[in-house]
């Protein structure tokens, strides 16, 4: 297949992934940055960026959906870097999801902070595994492709991360 046809095939495949992966990518980004509206914007940006970069896409072990999450990761890192210097939205205005009921909102905030604090105590790779597996919905193999790890290593990190989270959050066994 010549490169022009290959690009067309990639474009079609990317379009096919949009419906299935937009929500997952938005959730993945939300876990990283903690702002749902900006996560929605970034999820849209991921597909635009992927489209622009299709010429450089190489199918070597990482399927296209894994590549999308790599782009999402990079955009989230950029976002956090830019926003580290300007935390401008007061804490009162940050609302976790599912806040339709104000009473829920208070308990959600507390739970959100608790889980967020626990997540921060994981290593970066453990956080990535948790995020890609539970919010990206990727398999261990796909996560391994993104992180350049073997399946077994991903499974081990996954178990270690869950045990650590359970310990930090004081969940009863």
């Amino acid at each position: 297949m010549n490169s022009r046809n290959k690009i067309k095939e990639y474009e079609a495949r990317l379009a096919g992934l949009y419906e299935e992966y937009y929500d997952r990518i938005a959730r993945y980004v939300y876990v990283r940055i903690g702002n749902r509206w900006d996560a929605e914007d970034i999820a849209g940006e991921v597909f635009l960026k992927a489209l622009k970069s299709l010429n450089s896409y190489r199918e070597q072990g990482v399927p296209m959906q894994g590549w999308l999450f790599r782009i999402a990761h990079n955009l989230a890192v950029d976002y956090l870097r830019k926003n580290a210097k300007r935390r401008t939205v007061p804490i009162d205005s940050i609302v976790p999801p599912g806040n339709d009921d104000p009473a829920d909102s208070v308990s959600n905030k507390i739970e959100y902070k608790r889980v967020n604090q626990a997540m921060k105590q994981l290593t970066d790779e453990q956080r990535q595994v948790i995020n890609l597996r539970f919010f990206g919905g990727l398999s261990s193999k796909e996560v391994g492709g993104i992180l350049n790890k073997k399946d077994g290593a991903v499974r081990e990190m996954q178990r270690a991360a869950l045990e650590k989270l359970r310990g930090i959050m004081g969940m009863e066994s």
């Binding site: 067309k8 474009e11 079609a12 495949r13 379009a15 096919g16 949009y18 419906e19 937009y22 929500d23 938005a26 959730r27 939300y30 702002n35 900006d38 996560a39 929605e40 914007d41 999820a43 849209g44 597909f47 635009l48 489209l51 622009k52 926003n83 210097k85 300007r86 401008t88 939205v89 007061p90 009162d92 205005s93 609302v95 976790p96 999801p97 599912g98 339709d100 104000p102 909102s105 959600n108 959100y112 889980v115 967020n116 997540m119 948790i130 597996r133 539970f134 919905g137 398999s139 261990s140 499974r155 081990e156 996954q158 178990r159 869950l162 989270l165 359970r166 959050m169 969940m171 066994s173």
Partner: protein, 293 residues
């Protein structure tokens, strides 16, 4: 042994991701149930906390941008193999575009009427049948005349003094109702562009007046579509997000005129010459007075 357990845990996570329950998985591995259960329950707890579904609006906007970019590359949807573009999506997009055009044509003359979002019609809810029907120019509320709600913009002076003018364009305002009729009340301001240099401190600019359903509200959003500041030259002012948001509960009553002032402040960020807008919750809030009519 550990590797076996890792694989079983992994399989269970795949099954949960596919929508199966924790119990389904535990029943297949009774010997591991005791150590599996707490780990799987912690996943469920984490997913609950972070779970959210992106809004239809955001998804639609992103989809339109994506397909526009795809078309720009010379690949129209016709050239894309059928199997990759689900037909319902094509029809959904066409339907969305048609509905948007109809919506603009029909509802545009009635911009002063708040739009109720996800608020069920209920005899006890303060939404009259007239309010639920598509508004006509005859039953529009004219800004500055009647209504139980006034929305104002003000600026808490911080670095606003650096500006000759600072125009913000507000495309939409959203109020979250938490009363009997839960959901979002949205309206398009009659005055969309406000120069913040003209509304400093005690001064404010009324941008919308009309009726909103009676009851408690918990949050206010303004959607800012453009910010243009003039120092010595025109500069771009950054927004933390295109939506500025304040969580401040208040109540609307039909026999009172409720005025909500959304205070915005501009501050210079670390680097000189860069400014950012943010909502000022301490200066925002409600003022109520008896209606005179």
């Amino acid at each position: 042994m550990v590797d076996d357990f890792d694989k079983i845990l992994d399989q269970c996570i795949d099954r949960i991701n596919r929508g199966e329950s924790i119990t389904d998985c535990l029943s297949d591995y009774p010997n591991y149930a005791k150590i599996l259960r707490p780990l799987l329950e912690s996943i469920y707890g984490i997913q609950q906390v972070y779970s959210f579904t992106p809004s239809d609006d955001a998804k639609r906007t992103a989809r339109q941008k994506f397909y526009a970019a795809l078309d720009k590359r010379g690949v129209s949807s016709k050239k894309v193999p059928f199997s990759f573009i689900p037909k319902p999506l094509v029809w959904a997009t066409v339907a969305a575009v048609v509905m948007t055009i109809i919506g603009i044509l029909v509802i545009r003359p009635a911009l002063n009427q708040p739009t109720m979002v996800n608020i069920p019609k209920d005899d006890s809810a303060p939404i009259s049948p007239e309010e639920n029907s598509i508004p006509t120019p005859e039953n529009n509320i004219v800004p500055g005349s009647e209504g139980n709600f006034v929305f104002l913009i003000s600026d808490e002076p911080n670095d606003i003094g650096d500006f000759d003018s600072l125009n913000i364009t507000i495309s939409e305002v959203g109020l979250q109702s938490t009363g009997n009729s839960q959901g979002w009340v949205e309206f398009t301001p009659e005055i969309m562009t406000v120069d913040l240099t003209q509304v400093q401190g005690e001064q404010s600019q009324e941008i919308w007046r009309g009726d909103v359903p009676e009851g408690p509200y918990s949050q206010v959003f303004i959607y800012v579509s453009e910010v243009k500041g003039i120092l010595e030259s025109t500069i771009e002012v950054k927004l933390p997000s295109s939506r500025l948001h304040i969580s401040k509960p208040f109540e609307v009553a039909d026999d009172l005129l409720t005025s909500f002032t959304f205070d915005i402040t501009v501050i210079e960020s670390g680097n000189r010459g860069k400014y950012i807008l943010k909502p000022e919750i301490s200066e925002s809030g409600v003022l109520q007075e008896r209606k005179t009519n």
